[in-house]
């Protein structure tokens, strides 16, 4: 057994583990219509943040991206790398426009031109160690399942990594979600959890 492992003879002996806050839902809602989704005043009392989402953009296109901003920063401070697969096509793209994009990307969503109004993107976003206490570049990992139809190539999977740079922060206290190219979400839902 590794040194420091809190489980001894079947009993938890580490008080830090016993006192852990566990996972707690910080906020959840269904967005009937609206442009940005803003989680504000996120407490610094957890270890990690997890967001689950289901989203659809109003952009006149088959698909759009779910974008994210941290602490209200609207500058070119976000770097993202996408790996996606649809049918046999695997695509890898980095978003580094002029040193950084104006938002980070989380996953692909359906747009207004998708085959059905019931097509969405859904997925998760993980922000580990969002509160380091000292300045750092927050990074994230997002996974998404995307559908815009039933024909080949219209369903897919995304994995997106991102980092905020060069605007170092001490803690993530606000998360804003917005469609990359559209002006609003339709029938979308977002849930924020604090973990640990």
């Amino acid at each position: 057994m590794p040194t420091g492992f809190p489980l001894t003879s079947g009993l938890f002996t580490d008080t830090a583990w016993l006192n852990a806050t566990g996972a707690r839902r910080l906020g959840a809602f269904i967005l009937i219509g609206g442009s940005n989704v803003d989680f504000i005043a996120i407490p610094a009392t957890y270890k990690h943040l997890l967001v689950t989402w289901k989203a659809r953009s109003n952009v006149v296109a088959v698909s759009d991206f779910l974008g994210m901003r941290i602490n209200g920063d609207v500058s070119n401070h976000y770097l993202s790398q996408e790996l996606s697969a649809a049918a046999a096509v695997v695509t890898s793209i980095e978003y580094l426009t002029t040193g950084g994009d104006v938002m980070g990307y989380v996953g692909k969503v359906a747009g207004a031109s998708a085959a059905s109004g019931n097509d969405y993107g859904c997925g998760w976003l993980f922000l580990p160690n969002y509160n380091d206490g000292t300045s750092f570049y927050p990074s994230w990992l997002g996974g998404a399942s995307f559908a815009s139809g039933t024909a080949t190539g219209t369903i897919g999977v995304n994995l997106i990594q991102g980092q905020m740079y060069p605007a170092a922060i001490g803690a993530v206290t606000r998360l804003t979600f917005l469609p990359k190219n559209g002006t609003a979400f339709t029938g979308s839902s977002f849930t924020l959890y604090g973990l640990g």
Binding site: G34, S35, N36, D38, F39, I40, V59, V102, N181, T183
Partner: protein, 82 residues
Amino acid sequence: MMAKRPALKDRPVVAEYDCSPDTPDAQRLTHRPMNDEEYDDLLARQKAHIDAVEAPQVHPLVAQIAAMSDEDKAALAAALTA
């Protein structure tokens, strides 16, 4: 010159969720109009999106050939006409 912004009541809505432990549950979710910064950001993103959609589309093969060195272009031309 920045176009005149619409009145607050005519702007897109932001769904804001206050996660603070001090906020009563019933008051956590509010819907407010975009502030000036958010509205200007939305307009800028829409302009960038429209510019990208309306930009002349260049076939990837044409772009690839245009990026070739003169030497490679000559070699390609020779290969095509051989």
